[in-house]
Structures are given as C-alpha cells and as structure tokens.
C-alpha cells in the first residue's frame, strides 16, 4: 500500500500545487508524491494520461512504448515535437513530458511490454495500460491484483473510448463530508432580532470507506445469454436507431469488445489507409459479437465503422481526463472510485460508469 510520507512539502510544491491542494488536501498530495506509475502506450490517450499524472505531481512516471514515431503519429499527440520521425515514441515524448513538471521523475522505456518480466511491474504503485492487447491486459491485471498494485486500462477508437479499473480486492479511501450545522434563526421583519454567533459552517469530516474490485478477466467473462443479465435493464444506456430502441446492459461494452478483437486478430487498430479491408473485418466481428450478445445484426447503423478509426484528439482528452483522475483518486485514496468501467460516446457526449463482473 502507498505509505504516506510524513515529510514536509517544499515551498515550491506548495506554490505550484496550491490550487489542487485546496481541492483534495495536503494528505492526498503527499500520497501522490509517494507514488510511481507505469504508463504503457504513448499515443493520443497515453499522452493525455501522462500529462495529467505529471501535472498532478506523482513521484515518478515511466512511459513505456516500443513503437516508433511515424509521420502520422507526430500529428497525433502533443508531447512529440516535429521532426522526430523514426525515433522511439516514449523517448520522443520524454523531454516535453519532463518540462510539464520538473519535480516528477519522468522516464522513457523503449521495450515491448509483452517482453517485460513480472518483477518489472512490481516496482509501481499503479499501472496504466493503453493500446494493449486483451491478453496482455488480462495477464498484467492478474499479476498486479496479486500484489496490490492498482491497474487501469483504457483505449480510444475514433469517437468512442473506455477505461477500466481494478483497485484490488479491498480499496480503502476517504470521503470528505460537511459537518451538519444548526440552521440559523431567521431575522423577523419588525425590529432587529438577535443573531446568534454562528459556528463556522465550513467544517467537514472524513469518512472511511472501502470498495471492492474484480479482475479484468472476470469483468470480461460476461455471460451474454444470461436471462437475468438481459432483464436487468432499467437504467442502462442503450443504442437508439430510427427503427427501435434496444435495451441491453452490455451495449456499452460493444465497442471495446469489437475493437479489442480486431486488435488481437490484426495486431493493430483499424487504420484509415486500409479503410475498406478494415471496415469489412470490423463488420464481421460486429456480427459475431452481436450474435454472441443475442442481438440482431441490423440494429447498428451500417456506418458505425466510420466512427472508430484513429484516436480522435478530443475523445482522448475526455477519456484521458477521467482516467487520469481515477489514477489520482486511487493513489491518494480519496473520493469514491468509479466501478469499474467508464464508457464515452463522443457522438452523443454521454459518459457512463458501469460495473461488469461477478456480483
């Protein structure tokens, strides 16, 4: 568990972190300052998460990515300066990432994440995986779960994005609630009425809580055909088409499921340069997934594929913001974490939190 370092906050930190200390408190800031985070994947989403965590003031951030900068990727994220083609993506991001906050130890690691031994992951308090295959995410999550390391996964596919978190079997945190204050007496209209000296109504109290998470493996092992699951419909997000409205608790998982399958099959994400071929494969996978979910194939618009190519910068910003804040919350052990998925639909502007996994 992250030990709160009982050390002094320097003047420099106090000045720079002032506006966030006023929000989440000094304790939380200290815990952040004691945390090392591993971030895998420095594409659009990864860059956003890197920025958010570095600005928050973690102890260290290791950016791991084996891919090289291409002409296209140099326009895709804001940490890589131009003319860095052919360089490793993590390496190319390092300088501007470090400039974001010199007080954080920012490192670049150019290895392929699949080749990293188990021990590598154990040096971190939190691990954040972007652009990774489903199998890798499951493996790393399992490993971290056993060692009380917080795990986060996230991806952006065009207009859609998701994040997943596994904070372990028992994640302890605090919530700050205002102390109840007696209402003040109203002044009457005819003549001066005495006001009682008010107690300071800004007092708050910290309440301890616990949240339990499940592994990614269990979260994704949903039984699509389970009758109970199908009928637990009341307040769940849904697709809407001109013909009909479909309620299903699994709908938000649809895009990540299809796109992760594509990634496993092709070893990459859909690419505009092979639009036709990739679109065809996507539709095929869509059909398979919808069938497995027990839904009809023609319920999604035919052009859904157009919305999942590339990483849209504003979608990376939204998902990266939510994901970044979840990491901050988990490391600082303050405020209720979202359990355990967040889904963002950039077309609609809706962002939902939902739980998938054993009850």
């Amino acid at each position: 568990m992250i030990e709160k370092e009982d050390s002094i906050i320097s003047e420099e930190e106090a000045a720079q972190y002032d506006r966030q200390i006023r929000l989440w408190g000094l304790d939380a800031q200290k815990r952040l300052r004691g945390s090392r985070v591993l971030l895998v994947g420095l594409r659009g989403l990864g860059a956003e998460v890197a920025k958010n965590l570095i600005l928050a003031g973690v102890k260290g951030l290791t950016m791991l990515d084996h891919e090289l900068v291409t002409e296209e990727s140099s326009r895709a994220q804001f940490l890589i300066p131009v003319n860095n083609q052919g360089q490793n993506r993590a390496q190319a991001s390092l300088e501007r990432a470090q400039y974001l906050n010199p007080m954080v130890e920012v490192k670049a690691d150019t290895d392929r994440v699949e080749t990293k031994p188990d021990e590598f992951f154990l040096q971190f308090e939190a691990v954040c995986l972007t652009g990774c295959s489903r199998d890798l995410m499951v493996r790393v999550d399992q490993l971290c779960f056993e060692h009380n390391i917080k795990v986060f996964c996230g991806d952006v596919f065009g207009y859609h994005g998701y994040m997943f978190s596994d904070l372990g079997q028992e994640h302890n945190y605090v919530e700050e609630k205002p102390k109840v204050v007696k209402p003040k007496t109203e002044e009457s209209n005819d003549g001066p009425e005495a006001k009682k000296t008010k107690i300071d109504s800004n007092e708050t109290t910290m309440i301890k809580k616990t949240a339990c998470f499940c592994s990614l493996k269990l979260a994704l092992e949903v039984d699509w055909t389970n009758e109970k699951a199908k009928s637990s419909l009341k307040h769940t997000p849904h697709f809407s088409t001109t013909q009909s409205i479909v309620f299903s608790p699994f709908v938000p998982l649809f895009f990540p499921t299809v796109l992760l399958k594509f990634r496993t099959d092709k070893g990459r994400d859909p690419h505009p340069e092979s639009f036709e071929a990739d679109a065809m494969l996507l539709r095929q996978i869509r059909d398979d997934v919808l069938e497995a979910m027990g839904l009809s194939s023609d319920l999604l618009p035919h052009d859904f594929v157009s919305y999942c190519f590339s990483e849209m910068a504003p979608v990376c910003a939204v998902v990266g913001g939510v994901l970044g804040q979840e990491v901050v919350k988990a490391l600082s052990q303050r405020d209720a974490p979202h359990k355990n998925f967040f889904f963002f639909d950039g077309m609609k502007g809706s962002g939902v939190v939902d739980y998938f996994g054993p009850k």
Binding site: Q16, R19, F78, M312, P314
Partner: protein, 608 residues
C-alpha cells in the same frame, strides 16, 4: 491529427483547415482547448487573454513552464503549441476582449467563438458580441471536479443571459462594521481596511463603527437623526481613515489600539446590539505583548495552514503595516496600493486584521491558507476537469461545423455518476427566452429606485455596467426632447455624474433608452420611483426571481480587488478603475437529471 478518415469526414477535415476560430482565454480551459483544436486539424486559431502567467497556474495550464512566469499567457500558449504543430496559424492577443477594438466586425471574421473565461462580465460581453455578429458561441466553465459546456446560437438557443444567474452575495454595512458573525465578515472588513489605509478610499467600504445601524433603534427617523448628528459631530467619520493614519505616521500601535480597542469599546456603548449577541472583547497592544511566546513551527503541514495566536497576528499586523507603509511611500505622493492576494504583505495584512477581528468577536481564527481562499476568491482547479471540458468543447465545435447544430447539447460533468449511471450528462439546448433582456427583439427592463437619491454615475456604473453588463452605455431620456443623460464619449457628460436622476426630470414612469454600440445592444429601462427600498439597497430589478438572485439584488463586486497577477492590466470598464475578479462560475442551469452546478462568486462588500 486524427479525425476518422472515412469518406464522410473528408469534407469536414477540409472545412476545419479553412475556418477561423476565436478562443477567448488561455488559462485552464484555454490551454487544453488550443491543444485539442490543433490536434483535431483546426488551422486558423486566434487566442486572446489579458493575463500573465503565475506559478499557481502551472498545475494545470500545461503550455506554461516556470520560466514563463510573468509573461503573456496568449503569447506563450501560441509558442508552446507551435512546438508540436508548427503549421498551425495562431494569432495571439495580450489584451482584454472587452477592448472596443474587438468590435462586431472583428467577431464576424470567425466561424466559431469558444469561451475559456473565468468571469461573468467578459462572458456577458462575448455573449452580446456573438449575438450581434450572429456567430455560434461555445460557452464553458469548470470549478474543482465539476464542469459544463453549452452552445449558444442566436435565435436557436438561449443566450448566456437568458436565465438570471445568482448575483454575488454581499453583506450589509452594519454587519461588516458593527456586528460580524462569520469569518467572512471580518475578512471583508480587513480588505476594506486595506483600501482605507493604503488603497483607493471608497465610501462604500467604511470600517469604523456605524452609528446609523438600524438595529440601534426601532424608529427609522431616529436612525436618520443619528446619522446626521454624527456627520455634524465631527467624529471619526469626518476625518478619513487614511488621513488619520497618515497623521500618526501609520504608527502601528496607535493603529492597533484604535481599530481593535477604541472602536470596539465604542461599539460596546451601542448596547442594543449586544442584548442578544455575545459582546466583542477589545484588545490591548501592551497586554498582548505580555502574552507573546515564541511560535513553534509544528508538523509537516504547509506553513500557511498553521493558525497562530493573538500575539502572533498582532505581530503580523504590525509588520505588514510597516511594509505597506513604506511601499506606499516609495510610490510617491497621492499613491495608492491595490490589494492582491499574491502580494505577501497585502495578504499578511488581511490575514492579521481579519483574525484579530475574529478573535474580538469570539470566532475561531483561521490560517492564512484559508483566509487567502476566501479573501482571494480562489476556486480550486485541476488539470483533468479542464481536459474533459475542453475535449467536449471541440466535439461540439465539430457538430456545428458539420452543420449538425441540432445535435449540440449542454453537457454537465459530475463528480460521481447520477442514478442513471451518467458521469457526463448531455441535455437538450433550450430555445431563447422571450423575456430575455439581452436577446429578445426589443428588450426592456423595469428598475425600482429613488430618483432623488440615485446619482447619474450610480446609474451608469452600478446599474448599466455591473448589473446589465454594458461596457460603454449611452443613455437618452425618452422625454420628447431626447435629452442625453450619459454619453460613452469620455468627458461629454461628466458634469452629469454627480447629479441626481430627478434633476433631469426623471420620475416614476420615465423611460430611458440605453445603447451600447460596441455590443450592438439597446435596452429600454422603465423607471419606478420607490422610497422604501431596504437599507443598503440602491435599486431593484423588477422580475428578478428572489430565489435566483439572492437579496439584496444590487450586487457590488469588490471594485478594488485586482486578483491575479499584478502585471495584468484590465482596461477600465468603470470610472473607478481596476475592475477584475478572478472568481468564475459554472452557469446554473438545472437539468432534468438533477445536476445543478451553480457557483455564485464569493461574498464581498456592502451593498448600499
């Protein structure tokens, strides 16, 4: 860059490269927004911000580094963006958007305007300019973990001013001067004291005991009599606080004893006030010095979060007065200091004075950290909230540019998901309000005031500028002669300022035609003469729903609070000079899904 490159999007990509957009503000939301815009493929971006970079910005305004502190935000933001996107065509203005140079023609250059502001005055102004130019405006705001984005399109949606917003909370003069009951009253008093001693003296910011306190008597006539009597009496009020202080050479002991002993003892003679309240306990300088013991620096907390004792704050008071006195002397004759929360002696002074007063009135003293929050209107801010909101802004922008404005929504960002599991809640946009005093076709308002007691200057500054958001109003009386009451041209109607409205024949039922040519805005003001407004209330706008605009309705933002970096220069929007608040708010739409984000600006000032 990446927008999905399927065929439908080629057209969109082209229009993104071609269009010009304006970003107003280069702070928390602005930095994130600029980054998103260039990465999405926008090529022609203009950004304007009057502010300079402060170290407290660096936790979230990621385009800035420590070495940039003091420089123009707009300029540095542009340079930073060019590092990762050198082909972007960015124009940066280190200026206020309220400068008349940025007229309707200027706004018409853009396909879209996006606000990234932190104050209502500028938002009102940009709202009107975009209505006048008929350009879509994307409005947004964040505070802590919360945020909101919305789209404003003339004729289609509500404008920013269609829904009344909660006005800034203010306190009656007698509460500040005689009977404070909350720390904030003492903090406001301390800020007034700063202005009375070192800054611009303001008749609305008196600190001495108020003998005209209505609580002192049941009979309003009595109160009038007292007020007149004390004016004639030659008591403290006649000699300005600054003159008195100067006459003593800003002697800290004399100052301390006057404010925290003599004045308190005077208050104690007003025994009606203390019948049901705990009476204040005067302090004595010498007695406190005897108590003084060396302050231990304890613990691992922030130094500023410590709470000292009375002796400690007395020392702090004394030290800060001396520092401020010499700063004032250095500035030369007739100089004035402007309070700034980031100016250590100014902040020290308010911390000390407020705490001493709190102690006198039996309130627990507060740390410098807490007082700075309240005195400085600090709203906590983090990178992630701004990142999310700026992402949503660009997504709305894309809808507008694709011609899909009916897909646009107001989107709220909550801290926790609502019962329907939504963390981000999109809501349909509302149509314009028929009664809106800004965007309705012939807007009219009705104002209650006392024509014999309202100065022309007050009409201009407090009603037309502050309340109705105009920048440079021109006022004509609808008296058949078209008498010009106020001209926006400097000096033209200055002679009218110190006269009362009734001097111009304005009475119950009079109508005033008010124009702001910069905003291309005409407002008809109906005058209702009223002699019994509440104490400290100068005017009332009829139709302001009481629950939306908390009483008293005439809000007076603290004019002499120039928060933010000292170097920033805000062109005068009122004849009194500096007029800038850093506090910002998220607008207060209530949604069907129950997300109410409403932030009134923190309380200040009396309301007369």
């Amino acid at each position: 860059a990446l927008i999905s490159k399927g065929p439908p999007y080629r057209k969109l990509a082209d229009s993104l490269s071609a269009c010009r957009v304006l970003v107003v503000g280069a702070g928390g939301i602005g930095c994130e927004l600029l980054k998103n815009l260039v990465l999405t493929g926008f090529k022609n971006i203009e950004v304007i911000d009057l502010d300079t970079i402060d170290v407290s910005n660096l936790n979230r305004q990621f385009l800035f580094q420590k070495k940039h502190v003091g420089k123009s935000k707009a300029q540095v933001a542009k340079e930073s963006v060019l590092q990762f996107c050198p082909t972007a065509n960015i124009t940066a203005y280190h200026d206020s958007i309220m400068n008349p140079e940025y007229n309707v023609e200027f706004f018409r250059n853009f396909m879209l305007v996006m606000n990234a502001l932190d104050n209502r005055a500028a938002r009102n102004h940009v709202n009107r300019m975009c209505l006048a130019a008929d350009i879509p405006l994307i409005e947004s705001g964040t505070a802590g973990y919360l945020g909101q984005v919305t789209v404003i399109k003339k004729g289609l949606t509500e404008c920013y001013e269609c829904q009344p917003k909660p006005t800034q909370k203010t306190f009656p003069g007698c509460t500040i001067r005689n009977t404070p009951s909350e720390p904030i009253h003492c903090i406001v008093w301390a800020k007034y004291l700063f202005n009375q001693l070192f800054g611009e003296e303001d008749a609305d910011q008196e600190v001495s005991p108020d003998t005209a306190d209505p609580e002192l008597t049941w009979n309003p006539a009595d109160t009038e009599a007292r007020a007149t009597a004390s004016d004639q009496d030659g008591d403290i009020k006649r000699v300005s606080t600054k003159d008195w202080a100067r006459s003593t050479g800003y002697d800290t002991v004399k100052l301390f004893n006057k404010l925290f002993k003599d004045d308190i003892q005077y208050l104690l003679t007003m025994d009606k006030l203390w019948k049901k309240r705990k009476a204040p306990l005067p302090l004595d300088w010498l007695e406190i010095q005897k108590l003084a013991c060396p302050q231990e620096v304890t613990g691992t907390g922030l130094k500023d979060q410590q709470v000292l004792g009375v002796a400690g704050y007395s020392q702090l008071f004394s030290r800060s007065v001396e520092t401020l006195r010499s700063m004032l002397a250095d500035k030369g004759d007739g100089a004035e200091l402007v309070w700034d929360k980031d100016d250590p002696p100014a902040m020290d002074f308010v911390t000390a004075a407020a705490n001493l007063r709190m102690h006198i009135f039996s309130m627990n003293m507060k740390s410098r950290f807490d007082i700075k929050s309240m005195a400085g209107n600090i709203i906590p801010a983090i990178a992630t909230t701004n990142a999310v909101i700026a992402g949503l802004i660009v997504l709305e922008a894309l809808k507008i540019l694709s011609g899909d404005v009916e897909q646009c929504r107001t989107i709220f960002l909550n801290k926790q998901p609502n019962p329907r599991k939504k963390l981000l809640v999109p809501c349909a946009l509302d149509p314009p309000s028929a009664n809106c005093y800004v965007c309705a076709s012939k807007p009219e308002v009705t104002v209650k005031l006392n024509v014999h007691k309202t100065l022309v200057l007050a009409l201009q500054d407090k009603i037309l500028k502050e309340k109705f958001g105009m920048v440079a109003p021109d006022v004509q009386i609808e008296d058949g002669k078209g008498t010009i009451l106020i001209s926006s041209e400097e000096g033209e109607t200055e002679a009218n300022n110190s006269k009362f409205l009734s001097d111009f024949g304005i009475r119950h039922g009079s109508r005033l035609q008010v124009d702001d040519f910069l905003q291309d805005y005409t407002l008809l003001v109906n005058v209702i003469h009223c002699e019994d407004l509440e104490k400290d209330v100068e005017f009332e706008v009829v139709g302001d729903a009481p629950d939306k605009a908390p009483t008293p309705p005439s809000a007076q933002e603290d004019k002499n609070v120039a928060n933010g970096n000292k170097d920033s220069a805000e062109p005068s929007t009122s004849s009194k000079g500096d007029y800038q608040t850093q506090s910002f708010e998220v607008s207060c739409f209530v949604t069907a899904v129950g997300a109410i984000i409403s932030r009134s600006q923190p309380p200040f000032g009396p309301n007369r």
